[in-house]
Amino acid sequence: MFSEPIHAPQPTFTERLKAFNWLFLIPVAMLAGIGAAALYSIAGGSLEPWAERHVIRFCAGLGLLFAVALVDIRVWIKSAYPVYILAFLLLAAVPLIGVENSGARRWLALGSLSFQPSELMKIALVLAMARYYQWLPPQKVSNPLALVVPLLMVVAPAALVAAQPDLGTAVLFTVVGLGLMFLAGVSWLYFVAAAVGVVSTLPFLFQRLHDYQKERVLTFIDPERDPMGAGYHILQSKIALGSGGITGKGYMQGTQSHLNFLPEKHTDFIFTMFAEEMGFIGGIGLLGLYLLLLLAIVYMALRCRSMFARLAVGGVGLGLFVYIFINAAMVMGLVPVVGVPLPLVSYGGTSMLTVMFGLGLVLNAHIHRKTRFRKHEIGAL
């Protein structure tokens, strides 16, 4: 009955270093290395302008990862709600004082720096949801009233980013939020009911779409409908992938990407460019590495004892999965063009720091996998 203590004593810093999952850093570093190599090739065999900065950002990200991983987990559980509220306020401020860039208003300017509140919200959402279910007594999880707060936590920021518009992030918030509710133990029945509701209203929604929106959906289904317009990027991406064949065109030998047929090849379409040069073997290798990373995260989630740690790890894992899957499926023409980066591989400072922060949380939870929280340690709600 009392086989375990109510709560294990908090580990000291040395104990935390010992409990650190060093092995986990191997796939992380490999992915960042692949990103740097691909960016070197895209620049035509040059460290400028991307590869070198990618490596520097990864190193900075590693510092952040260690910092996030090695602090006491109670820092995160205590700051969860304040961080969420801050992120939400900043996100709400974007439409009012944000900076517009190529048709979307996503940035806040802080002096000379610009900054995306939606990135902060990615972390904050996971922390806040985990914090909520840590507090909620297990037997009340499926209580309808207990669904109100987490649903609001998910829907409000998702609606704000969807309006920016930033479809990719909205999908991420929704999937991660609903996934966390599922992992926390919310009854199946709610999910089944929601799924039935959405599916049954889809045809009705399609009818109400504008013609150009319908056209966009149809073009997604058959990109050849409009090879020079909306389907252009997808078609070019498929040509690049397909022409790579099994063994690829060779490192730095990709024609489609080097000849600029491929858009955004250093960010959203980096997978295409990598698989064009490295072929099917390289593409499967990269996907395999990601799967390894995700399964390692699942493994760590399963070993945690507190709901906060479980959901923090599970939430970060889900978020990574959503980005990887949407990105790869998009460049292969399986889902519409949604601008999401490939974690650790795509060029981009914000994305890199967010991912490293998330991985730091995963490692932090892993270090504190045996920690249980006392009510007074977390406070109300």
Binding site: L183, A240, I246, L291, G314, M332
Partner: protein, 628 residues
């Protein structure tokens, strides 16, 4: 207890659901892998093809058009380099300023300037736009020296077809121009901007040989169409050098002589080989003016001009041959056996067929005529009777045998065939039966008979040699000297009697063209006058009393030397009056030039590409043999 139990059950549920999500994730990764396999393994070939289409741009390299030279190597048509200035809009920030600076060196008309600015806005900024052409060396050098100050401008040199003896030889050589819609067929090089193809004359007739073969360069291009790398290149092959049979020297003298007349044409043949030594039609035009393309106004002005300068009357003018046709009638009669050397026919100045009277040009009549005197004095009645005896079918057959009623496929396009009438022809074109009077009038080359000056020259050469000579405008390859023309199959004595009559025309007292006698004592010329009526009402009136366009055409055909024929000449002076007065002096002057210079007796020019082939000496035996 209860909360702890609930906590444990929650832990178990989390594990199950986490594993389920992990399974879903792995499954979706499987979908990604399956999709990747479909793209990169199964459909790879299809996409590889699309990828090549994407990135490889095939650009044609225009071949250099072959030169055209005369029989002694004088350059007739060549390619002269035009020095040009172009601007590349993307290389300059200030196109207006650049044009201003270029304008200080080369004049840029306002219209050109407007066109450059319009094109710069419309097309891809890396495509060069021509600002000025045909710069002098001085201007060209200045632009190049100023290059640092003219960023965005570049110069190049482009070959432009140029005719060196423009007007003199325009009708033979023709001219080139941009292909129009129905000429854009098999060879894609035709669609290159600025590419010119033959539009008339030899330029059109020998288009295939002159054009050469296009080369190409395969370029790797990026998504903007900009070339980033040259993959490979196939050089273009220059067009063949064409050696004409024309002697430019004689051609220009003939043109000069004809220029004294308003509308006239002349053809001079080597009557043994059929080579055209000169072919003239007046008035003429300058083919260089047609190269860059005329404005529609200029073109219609030229095409509808009086006297039709664009038409080569030597092959497109169709005239009643008049009395020059009498050799045909004579030979038809002799071959049919209806007349003989000494068959006499009395001429009383007229001839009756079914109550219709046909007059002889000499109202008083010629008296008793045999074939020799009838040709010499051009007695109409003799040939009325002969034609009547032979009948139209045999007469028409002889006309065709001597070269009428047909075109010759030797590289001069747009020939007219003329008309050799017979009952079948009349029924199909006019829809009426043949009347006997029409046979009689055809016997003197009037009525429906129509011939071209080229056909008249061919007829003369055939009578002179007794062989089925065909005309030729391009010198044969020295390795492949064509076989001599086949005999016509006419009896030698019949030909000899007719030739004797023709010799009499020029050299005997009473001949109709005594004034055409050659001034050299040892060379005699044989010939025949012709005066073809344009308007029957005009007969009997004096030339100066009638409107120019109602006057008779003057014709003359001849060959020389009479005993060993080498040159045949046919001349027509439209509305010039009688053949004797208007045409025979022109023909005589041409023949004097031919006999004095004797271009056929001199070694001709051998095309440079042919020479190279022999010099390589794959087969030394015949090559050295030919060299001797």
């Amino acid at each position: 207890m209860e909360p702890r139990e609930a906590e444990r059950r929650q832990g178990g549920r989390f594990t199950r659901r986490m594993l389920l999500l992990a399974g879903v994730q792995a499954g979706l990764f499987g979908v990604l892998g399956w999709r990747l396999r479909q793209l990169q393994v199964i459909d790879s070939r299809k996409y590889a093809l699309l990828s090549d289409e994407n990135r490889i741009s095939l650009q044609l390299l225009a071949p250099t058009r072959g030169l055209i030279v005369d029989r002694f190597g004088e350059l007739i048509a060549g390619n002269v380099e035009s020095r040009r200035v172009l601007v590349v809009p993307e290389l300059t920030k200030d196109l207006d300023g650049l044009l201003d600076r270029i304008g200080k060196i080369v004049e840029i008309p306002e219209a050109v300037r407007a066109r450059v600015i319009r094109l710069a806005k419309k097309q891809s900024p890396h495509i060069p736009i021509v600002v000025a052409e045909k710069l002098s060396w001085r201007e060209f050098a200045q632009v190049n020296i100023m290059a640092p100050d003219l960023a965005g401008a570049k110069t190049d040199i482009l070959p432009v077809r140029t005719y060196f003896h423009g007007t003199d030889i325009a009708h033979i050589v023709g001219y080139v121009g941009a292909a129009d819609k129905n000429e854009v067929n098999d060879d894609p090089v035709v669609r290159l901007p600025g590419f010119r193809i033959g539009k008339s004359g030899v330029e059109k007739g020998f288009e295939k040989e002159l054009r050469g073969r296009a080369g190409n360069v395969r370029l790797e291009v990026n998504a903007h169409g900009r070339a980033v790398r040259k993959l490979d290149q196939v050089e273009s092959a220059r067009g063949r050098e064409l050696v004409l049979t024309i002697d430019h020297d004689i051609q220009s003298k003939v043109m000069k002589r004809l220029a004294e007349e308003r509308r006239a044409a002349a053809v001079a043949l080597d009557c043994v080989t059929g080579e055209v030594i000169a072919m003239a039609s007046t008035p003429s035009y300058d083919p260089n003016a047609l190269i860059s393309g005329l404005s529609p106004d200029e073109w219609s002005g030229m095409a509808t001009a009086d006297d039709d300068p664009l038409t080569n009357k030597a092959i497109r003018g169709q005239y009643p041959p008049g009395s020059t046709f009498k050799m045909v009638t004579a030979l038809a009669g002799l071959e049919a056996g209806v007349i003989d050397k000494d068959s006499f026919i009395a001429c009383h100045g007229g001839y009756m067929v079914k109550n219709v009277h046909f007059g002889c040009w000499r109202r008083g009549g010629h008296g008793r005529m045999n074939v020799h005197n009838a040709i010499k004095q051009s007695c109409d009645v003799f040939f009325y009777e002969t034609a009547n005896r032979v009948g139209i079918v045999k007469l028409a057959a002889m006309a065709r045998r001597l070269g009428f009623g047909q075109t010759y496929d030797f590289g001069l396009p747009l020939q007219k065939p003329g008309v050799v009438p017979d009952p079948g022809w009349k029924r199909s074109t006019i829809g009426e039966p043949w009347y006997p009077g029409e046979t009689v009038i055809a016997g003197i080359g009037q009525g429906f008979v129509l011939t071209t000056p080229l056909q008249l020259a061919v007829m003369t050469a055939r009578i002179a040699t007794g062989r089925a000579v065909v005309p030729r405008i391009v010198r044969p390859d020295p390795d492949h000297t064509p076989a001599p023309a086949k005999p016509l199959g006419l009896k030698d004595e019949h030909l000899a009697w007719v030739r004797d009559g023709m010799k009499g025309v020029v050299n005997e007292p009473g001949g109709t063209a005594g004034r055409a006698r050659l001034p050299m004592p040892d060379v005699l010329m044989a010939g025949k006058t012709g005066t073809s009526q344009v308007n029957t009402a005009s007969s009997g009136r004096r030339s100066h009393q009638i409107e120019w366009h109602e006057r008779d055409h003057g014709l003359f055909v001849c060959y020389a030397p009479a005993d060993k024929p080498r040159y045949a000449v046919a001349v027509i002076v439209e509305h010039g009056g009688s053949g004797s007065a208007a045409a025979s002096p022109v023909a005589r002057d041409i023949m004097i030039e031919l006999v004095q210079k004797d271009p056929v007796g001199k070694p001709g020019y051998v095309a440079s590409d042919t020479r190279r082939k022999t010099a390589d000496g794959d087969d030394p035996g015949p090559a050295t043999g030919k060299g001797g």
